[in-house]
Symmetry: C2
DNA sequence: TTGAAAGCGCTAACAT
DNA sequence: ATGTTAGCGCTTTCAA
């Protein structure tokens, strides 16, 4: 692997001239520059990153922390969506991307790459909550960091997020506007930290209270992330005799899949018996029938913005902590329709009579 | 960010002693070592990667090239599966992972990270064919490289792949064993290089010829990667009057989704009208009914193995080019069943009469 | 057991 | 316009 020195020798100049040519190179005679560039091409020379980093203290690399547990399709889609944005923005800015932990194993030292000065800053993809040790070190060392999908209130940590509360509200309004009154929301267990889902839940409640006041029927289903437990909670609520919700708003598309499976088992048809709306925008690619109405987050944009913020943050040494909220777009689908009997009376046949 | 020198001052030794302590450190008095370690802890010191890299020529980072076009769910799942394996293995080996291009844009300089000595070697995830420029440079510079999902016959380039031919054969045999005789295979357009799919196609043909000799009915559907074109090819073959295949073996799970959509449109039921088998193992998580029989590749293992091979390759400077073939596992599902009327007579009602 | 000196590839500051 | 010198943080070699 050739070095500046070798290029210099070949071009018959000193190595510093080579350095000048590489770094925009003011004050180099045109003929000299030509010779140097020639030599560079002939040798296939490219500056060594380590030498440069040692001098400048920068290494043009950003680290991505993406701890995630399941590795299921939705999580993959979310991660890759954001990652594509990050990667594209980095490429345009001549940065590289170092990924650290994709799979969470509990004892990963997430910030090591920064301490080793392998990266100039880090992006955290908030599928899990960032723990306090990390947050503390970020603040202490003033490590440039942008969090995607969460809003940590810590000095110097920037974030990029979507307006989940608003999206939850808007979506619920749309369901109400179809004539539904008894609308269930599928959330997650309360002890599972997930600000995105909780935001959506908040919006759901606000919309219902606003529309129906104290007469609002709030029914929140809770389960873990795994589809089995989601399926269970749906079976329980929609399987019991008597009046059941006429619409189900799922906080994730993952839950939609589990709900569809539960509905199939119960003989419930979408949307004639129950309307169904999801969140994440991954479902359309499955060509499910009926098309499931859902919400899509601008993942790639979020990734790109995170990179921009990170670069700004590490360049202006004055850390200006701030965040950016992205809107969520609703994707219509046939799965959202008016309830069969108008105002939320549930007139579907029982599961038994259908099978 | 503290340096060795600062640690040394604090511990009252010279910086070289600190270096010794860090690198396993023989010849250091126990008490000295203690003091140094103490200082390291107090300062939160971690050796700078650049300084070390400059000396050793190694930087304990591997690059991953993963050019891909669509960013659809299946591709994401494949990529992430492999990536998880790579990342886990790297973490165990104290390496970092640098990802280069995820989205292909045609003019990416994939090997730049190596030339800049940011990485010690590279892994290529073969969703697209590696072009000759890259292959040439890999060979010229003797860049350690492992390809996943393809078998480039180039000096010094190792690979990890699955036995697609065998899997195609085995799967077709299973379909034959159910009593099917007219079995279609969904491949891709011939000008689209995809050794995995072509391998499966080869296996499919071998199984049919072996079972039925010259009387074998080989029907290969071709389309692009996008679901619309797949849907079109399925509609065409299964929508035409007269005898149509009683089973469809799709080379990817993506095609399965498109095929299901086409079947729905044609009023074809799976498996009562047509049996359906996929490839990739991503479908089970969708809780589709009926469960689709498919094949799963050991993606994580493949990623891990690629890392092991790469490390071996870059450590023993004698490049020993070789490859490793992983088996594919069949996942049974109700979508594969005997044909309705025994030996492949197609007795289903026409699409029209059903709707 | 410890330290001093040199050098890895590069850039910045200061000559010429 | 070009070159010289020093030094980034570290390891390796040689000396004490």
């Amino acid at each position: 692997m050739p070095t500046q020195k070798e290029v210099a020798e070949r071009a018959g100049v000193s190595f510093i001239t080579v350095s000048r040519v590489i770094n925009n190179g003011a004050h180099v005679r045109e003929s000299t520059r030509k010779r140097v560039e020639q030599a560079i091409r002939e040798l296939g020379y490219e500056p060594s990153f380590a030498g440069k980093a040692l001098n400048t203290g920068k290494n043009d690399t950003i680290g991505v922390m993406a701890p995630s547990g399941f590795g299921d399709m939705m999580e993959n889609a979310y991660l890759m969506g954001v990652l594509r944005g990050i990667e594209a923005a980095c490429r345009e800015a001549n940065k590289d991307v170092l990924i650290s932990p994709i799979t969470e194993n509990g004892n990963t030292d997430y910030l090591r790459p920064y301490r080793q000065r392998k990266v100039d800053g880090m992006i955290y993809i908030g599928l899990r909550r960032m723990n306090n040790t990390i947050l503390g070190e970020l603040a202490n060392r003033k490590i440039p960091c942008v969090v995607i999908g969460d809003r940590p209130q810590v000095n110097g940590v920037c974030w990029v997020d979507t307006d989940n509360e608003e999206a939850g509200y808007e979506t619920t309004r749309r369901i109400i506007d179809q004539g539904h009154r008894h609308i269930a929301f599928h959330s997650i267990n309360e002890d599972m930290y997930n600000p995105n889902i909780f935001g959506r839940e908040k919006g759901y409640k606000r919309a219902l209270r606003e529309a129906f006041g104290s007469g609002a029927t709030i029914s929140v289903l809770r389960a873990g992330y795994d589809r089995e437990s989601v399926r269970g909670s749906v079976l329980e609520v929609f399987g019991k005799p008597g009046e059941t919700p006429t619409a189900l708003f799922c906080a994730t598309d993952n839950q939609v899949i589990a709900a569809l499976s539960a509905f199939r088992k119960l003989g419930i048809c979408v949307p004639s018996d129950v309307s169904l709306v999801g969140f994440d925008g991954f479902l359309p690619s499955f060509l499910i029938e009926p098309e499931i109405a859902t919400n899509v987050q601008p993942l790639e944009d979020m990734g790109r913005t995170a990179v921009t913020m990170l670069i700004a943050q590490s360049e202006q040494h004055a850390a200006q902590p701030h965040g950016k909220v992205f809107p969520v777009s609703f994707i219509p689908g046939q799965s959202l329709a008016p309830p069969r009997n108008g105002q939320g009376q549930n007139g579907r046949k029982s599961a038994e009579s259908r099978r």
